[in-house]
């Protein structure tokens, strides 16, 4: 990875972390998981798959370190989501709506996995009021954001202005 790519990726991830923990912590209906979304969208770029997995792990670990649940929970979940995203990304490259749906489905899987692993490790903090609503709302918000921002993120990271331009 070039220095510029590393800087852009790190900046995007940091922006996602800051916006997630401030702006989107106060919204009631539109509740995305920006860091998970960023991990999914990075799978669409030309970054090496191993690099995307590493970024996913670090992104999840950052949220774990900022939060109060057990360390490594999101790191594991985001890494698995990134792996599935890498393996299925060819199917997303059909149009913006498909990218949105693909990101939404991956987020749904990630959210369910987070709750399952969290429950196994006794993390009551992630099972508070409205957790069932979040299983629907978070993937929905991520799908909308992916539909809007996926091409922009890919072009920014890959420095390719022609990426994801659909007729």
């Amino acid at each position: 990875m070039r220095i510029r790519t590393i800087l852009v990726t790190a900046s995007l991830l940091l922006l996602a972390v800051v916006l997630q923990t401030t702006l989107f912590s106060q919204t009631r209906v539109f509740i995305p998981d920006l860091v998970m979304l960023m991990v999914i969208l990075l799978a669409l770029t030309r970054l090496r798959p191993e690099g995307v997995l590493g970024i996913a792990f670090l992104g999840g670990l950052t949220i774990d370190l900022l939060g109060s649940s057990v360390l490594g929970l999101r790191a594991i979940v985001f890494t698995i989501v990134a792996y599935i995203a890498i393996r299925t990304r060819e199917r997303a490259d059909l149009g913006r709506i498909i990218i949105g749906l693909w990101a939404g489905l991956l987020t749904f899987g990630g959210v369910v996995l987070l709750l399952v692993v969290g429950t196994l490790f006794g993390q009551t903090i992630i099972l508070g009021e409205g957790v069932v609503d979040l299983v629907v709302l978070v993937p929905l918000a991520n799908a909308i954001l992916a539909w809007i921002f996926a091409p922009m993120v890919v072009r920014l990271v890959d420095r390719d202005t022609t990426a994801f331009r659909y007729a």
């Binding site: 800051v18 900022l66 109060s68 929970l73 393996r87 299925t88 709750l115 006794g122 709302l137 978070v138």
Partner: protein
């Protein structure tokens, strides 16, 4: 659906990272958030917190404006209602001032030493939450403002919110009692019980193991002197449904907390215990009586041992 290419190192990388993740989780659970993981958390929060504060400085007014716009139809009525409440509270304040003056006089007459009213209070703003599923609150005050791990947190009405789990120089993480892993020792009337969080609910489960009488809907639940996490007498919530003790004396019901952590913008961190060294010294000297000041203003008398060692479950 899944395809592998020759020389593809994705799967070995995934497995390695998963193993590292599971090891981290095990290590964190075993060390109970302390040690190296505690240092890592504090370090990360120290790095990110200035950015979070800057973002909150920009974002909070925008969110407030959007909130105001969405509630513009009811703004006038809300304003009038708030003005009425301010007038009523000002009148109450005068009455409380009279009571305090009387209390001070009695304390002087009976040579009582006040302890509860001397609790240090740090008002802090909620600047965010870690992610949609983590219900912890991040506040803009930290060790430089005297905040320490374990200190109890209340809202501006004096209702119990939770306790400090992590702290850095400029921020702290609060875990609400509605999702925290630990129970809270409480009293309902003169019975002692434990409040525990429930899955997908803001309500708490109240367990009383040696219940002598039933509890009724609407009864207030307050922190107990048996609690090591909260000072005694702080209101937590009210009983939702009537419940009678079973044959073995156990009683279980639900409690609706007064504080709503999801809508909090400002919290108050209590410096409690006020001074652990003094508290131990006082306990050793076994003073006959001390006066504590619960938030409702009424004075109660207890021995120093009464507010010391029992666990919160």
């Amino acid at each position: 659906m899944l395809s592998r290419q020759p020389g593809d190192r994705t799967l070995p990388t995934l497995i390695t990272l998963l193993v590292v993740g599971v090891l981290l989780m095990t290590f964190d659970v075993r060390s109970e958030g302390g040690g190296v993981t505690g240092v890592l958390r504090a370090g990360t929060q120290s790095i990110v917190s200035p950015l979070q504060k800057a973002a909150a400085f920009v974002v909070n007014p925008v969110v407030d404006t959007i909130d105001s716009l969405s509630n513009v139809a009811t703004l006038r009525e809300t304003n009038l209602e708030l003005q009425r409440r301010v007038a009523a509270l000002e009148a109450s304040l005068i009455a409380v001032d009279d009571d305090l003056a009387r209390l001070e006089l009695y304390e002087q007459l009976y040579e009582l030493e006040t302890t509860g009213s001397a609790l240090g209070r740090t008002v802090a703003e909620v600047i965010g939450r870690p992610d949609p599923f983590d219900r912890a609150l991040i506040i803009d005050k930290g060790t430089s403002d005297g905040i320490a791990v374990g200190q109890p947190v209340i809202d501006t009405n004096g209702f119990v919110v939770g306790s400090v789990q992590q702290v850095t120089t400029g921020t702290a993480t609060i875990v609400p009692i509605t999702v925290g892993p630990d129970g809270v020792a409480v009293t309902v009337e003169d019975q002692r019980g434990i409040l525990l969080p429930q899955v997908d609910s803001n309500e708490l489960r109240l367990d009383i193991f040696d219940a002598r009488e039933p509890v009724f809907a609407g009864q207030r639940v307050a922190t107990s002197s048996a609690s090591v996490r909260f000072p005694a007498g702080y209101p937590v919530g009210q009983v939702v449904a009537d419940a009678a003790p079973s044959n073995d004396g156990a009683l279980s019901t639900t409690v609706s907390p007064f504080a709503d952590p999801d809508n909090l913008r400002v919290v108050v961190v209590l410096a409690w215990p006020p001074d652990p060294v003094k508290a131990i010294t006082a306990e050793e000297e076994s003073e006959p009586t001390t006066t504590t000041m619960p938030p409702d203003g009424s004075s109660t008398t207890s021995t120093p041992e009464g507010s010391s060692t029992a666990g919160d479950g």
